[in-house]
């Protein structure tokens, strides 16, 4: 397994670790999102209940309004009934005309359009029938009891006011109708008004459903202590027929609400158990989702009814109705925002921790490298000093052969020191710990220094080193130490890869866009494939000169990185067998001067 394989495994492991971290973050974020959403949903539910309660309150308010109006109306009816009863008590010989005159003052048509009529129905036993008929026919010769036939008891209508078709007595025996009879019997035995179930007005063809309230009238002075006493003393009934349709309409009209409807049942009379009245909006309201329906049984004058009240959702304002939905919406939004914030917090915290950890590792690595390089340098320095003293004659005369041996030792030691230096710089560079201290520098002079320093080396290799120095200064903002190191590396490299008697030429110039430094040689050159990787770390050119050439394979990497740090780049042009040109481009930026300065 090669070096690159290890790196791949390492990066794969890091990627796996990173994806595991992302997964755990995602879980936390999803958890926060769900928790917030759940909290808001719970709150939305309570809001929904509140709104429902409010709706119910508004609904019940409507029911109360109708109930109160009903009570008030019925109290009026009772006063009308008692007025009629009073009439009959005062004057037993009262005529139809008297009855009509009395009730005209009530102005039913205008004030109480729902009242179909007010009548008096005499209670007549079979024994009393002949006398009764004589009496009635004296007033109205055509008076007959309908339906005809022999019965034990007759309760024919004798006076009548306010039927639209007729204001005459009808002679209709309501006692023959089981619904009316039930109410009459209840009224007679209890002594208080009793209401019938819903009936049809016999005198009114196609009439709407109505109910009739009967108030019993007893013979004056009779004992009324028991139901039997009251039955024996019964004289007749004042009856008041009310059109249910108009009755309910008039009640609702007092406080109209399109979102509130009623359905009225006769809850007592089995054959009449179907609805006797419903408001026109009832069906549409009952089809609306979110409506409220409530059935309320109630008793009016001893008759049991049931009203189904229904309220559409619009009975409460839209703003109130939309609150649960709004709560969900804002809750969702808040959940997303909160989850986002948590994600950001986790990410930034992790980023900081990672950074801190990275810094600690880098610091430790750097300290170790500094120390290690110091420790490595010290013995190499000792070797350099002693071998150097021998070479330079401090230890006395040495032979040419000894000199050659010592020279090899010295060169090897130098190479070792150079590698230690480069490794140290690469370590710093990779840790991002190389900070440039840029100064306005005359590149011309910097190249001159490099030229003179490398002169010895090129001479030893019997090469020609040229420097085409421009007349005008070439100014750029560079870190002199690092830029010098980069150019020095390039020249040193050119020397290494150029055979004896070859030539290396340094030059620099300034264009409109950049400062250029070129190192041209007529050495072995680099093929296109190798050109792509020469700036990679630990790449060494392998060729026929390899045995002669020393290098760590990090010089060009270091050089390229330093130039990159300066905002520049290196362009390589090379033909194998003919030579190479390395050109450093330092483009003018905010950090590099753009004016043409001359020294």
């Amino acid at each position: 397994m090669g070096f690159r394989d290890v790196t791949s495994w390492g990066s794969l492991w890091r990627r796996m670790e990173a994806s595991a971290k992302i997964r755990s973050h995602t879980y936390v974020v999803i958890l926060v999102f769900l928790a917030t959403l759940a909290a808001f949903s719970y709150y939305a539910n309570s809001v929904r209940n509140t709104v429902r309660n409010d709706t119910m309150l508004a609904f019940q308010q409507q029911i109360r309004v109708v109930g109160t109006a009903t009570q008030a109306r019925l109290a009026l009816y009772e006063s009308i009934l008692r007025g009629g009863a009073g009439m009959t008590a005062i004057d037993k010989n009262m005529t139809q005309a008297d009855w009509q005159t009395y009730f005209q003052s009530f102005n039913f048509a205008k004030e109480y359009p729902e009242i179909a009529g007010v009548g008096f129905d005499r209670y007549v036993t079979a024994n009393q029938l002949p006398t009764f008929l004589q009496e009635m026919q004296a007033q109205n010769p055509s008076f007959t009891i309908t339906p005809s036939g022999n019965r034990g008891v007759y309760v024919p209508n004798t006076y009548l006011a306010k039927y639209p078709q007729t204001d005459q007595m009808t002679g209709y025996d309501g006692y023959t109708d089981p619904v009316r009879r039930a109410a009459m019997n209840t009224a007679a035995s209890t002594g208080i008004p009793a209401m019938s179930g819903y009936v049809h007005m016999q005198a009114i063809p196609n009439s709407h459903s109505s109910f009739v309230i009967y108030l019993p009238v007893y013979n004056t002075g009779a004992s009324l202590n028991s139901p039997a006493d009251r039955q024996a003393a019964l004289y007749g009934f004042v009856s008041l027929a009310v059109n249910i349709n108009k009755f309910v309409s008039s009640l609702i009209q007092q406080n109209p609400n399109a979102n509130f409807g009623l359905l009225w049942h006769d809850n007592q009379t089995p054959e009449n158990s179907k609805a006797v009245y419903q408001t026109s909006n009832f069906t549409s309201l009952s089809n609306q989702p979110g409506n409220i329906e409530q059935s309320i049984p109630f008793t009016l004058y001893q008759h049991h009814w049931e009203v189904t009240a229904i309220a559409g959702p619009s009975v409460v304002p839209a703003s109130e109705r939309d609150r649960p939905l709004n709560t969900i919406f804002w809750g969702l939004l808040a959940s997303i925002v909160l989850a986002g914030v948590v994600w950001l917090l986790i990410s930034s915290r992790e980023f900081l921790l990672n950074r801190q950890k990275q810094m600690e590792v880098q610091n430790a690595k750097d300290d170790l490298l500094s120390l290690a390089s110091h420790q490595l340098r010290t013995p190499a320095t000792v070797v350099k000093q002693y071998v150097g003293m021998l070479l330079q004659g401090y230890g006395g005369e040495i032979t040419q052969k000894q000199m050659g041996m010592l020279k090899h030792a010295y060169d090897s030691n130098e190479r070792q020191l150079q590698i230690i230096n480069q490794l140290l710089y690469v370590a710093r560079l990779d840790a991002g710990r190389i900070t440039l201290h840029k100064e306005r520098t005359d590149i011309r002079e910097l190249l001159d220094q490099v030229f003179h320093e490398q002169m010895v080396e090129s001479r030893q290799r019997h090469q020609k080193l040229f420097y085409r120095q421009p007349k005008k200064a070439v100014i750029a903002d560079v870190d002199p130490q690092y830029f010098h190191m980069a150019i020095d590396n390039l020249v040193s490299n050119a020397i290494k890869y150029t055979p004896e008697k070859g030539s290396i030429t340094l030059s620099t110039k300034k264009t409109d866009e950049a400062v250029l430094v070129s190192i041209e040689d007529n050495g072995i050159g680099i093929d296109a494939e190798r050109q792509k990787i020469i700036f990679d770390k630990f790449t060494r050119l392998e060729n026929e000169m390899a045995a002669d050439v020393s290098g760590s394979g990090i010089g060009l990497y270091l050089t390229d990185q330093i130039i990159n740090l300066h905002g520049g780049h290196i362009v390589v042009k090379s033909t194998p067998g003919k030579g190479s040109t390395f050109t450093v481009y330092l483009p003018f930026t905010t950090t590099n001067p753009t004016t043409d300065e001359t020294a």
Binding site: H374, M389, Y394, L417, N421, T435
Partner: protein
């Protein structure tokens, strides 16, 4: 005869520098750390001190600090820091003490070191 104090913990290097500079005609005294160096200064007045930085007991920076506190104005000597520490932070630390020069031991050959010393003290 110019006097040189070499403060260097690495014995072979200390001896190499001493031998080299004695060969160049200087009077040389040596010390293995900053503390010993301070002791030597009581009896020996050098024209230049060659100072290593990374040393046990008292390192070069501590030596410079101690020196700056007790330095007698009548005593004049230069300091050439000779180290293998290339940490820029270390160089910044040294800058405060106005040393005469800083050099990497690994960079100087014996003749270059001799030339550097000669340039500073003659």
């Amino acid at each position: 005869m110019k006097k040189i104090l070499i403060i260097e913990d690495e014995l072979p290097l200390r001896e190499a520098f001493a031998f080299l500079l004695q060969s160049e005609g200087y009077e040389v005294e040596v010390a293995e750390n900053g503390k010993v160096g301070l002791e030597k200064l009581k009896l020996f007045s050098p024209d230049i001190i060659l100072l290593d930085l990374l040393m046990p007991v008292m390192n070069g920076i501590e030596f410079l600090k101690a020196l700056s506190k007790q330095r007698n104005t009548s005593v004049h000597f230069k300091t050439l820091v000779l180290s293998n520490l290339s940490d820029p932070m270390t160089r910044d630390d040294i800058r405060d003490f106005h040393v005469a020069g800083v050099a990497m031991k690994a960079d100087l050959s014996p003749s270059e070191l001799a030339a550097t010393v000669k340039k500073l003290v003659g």
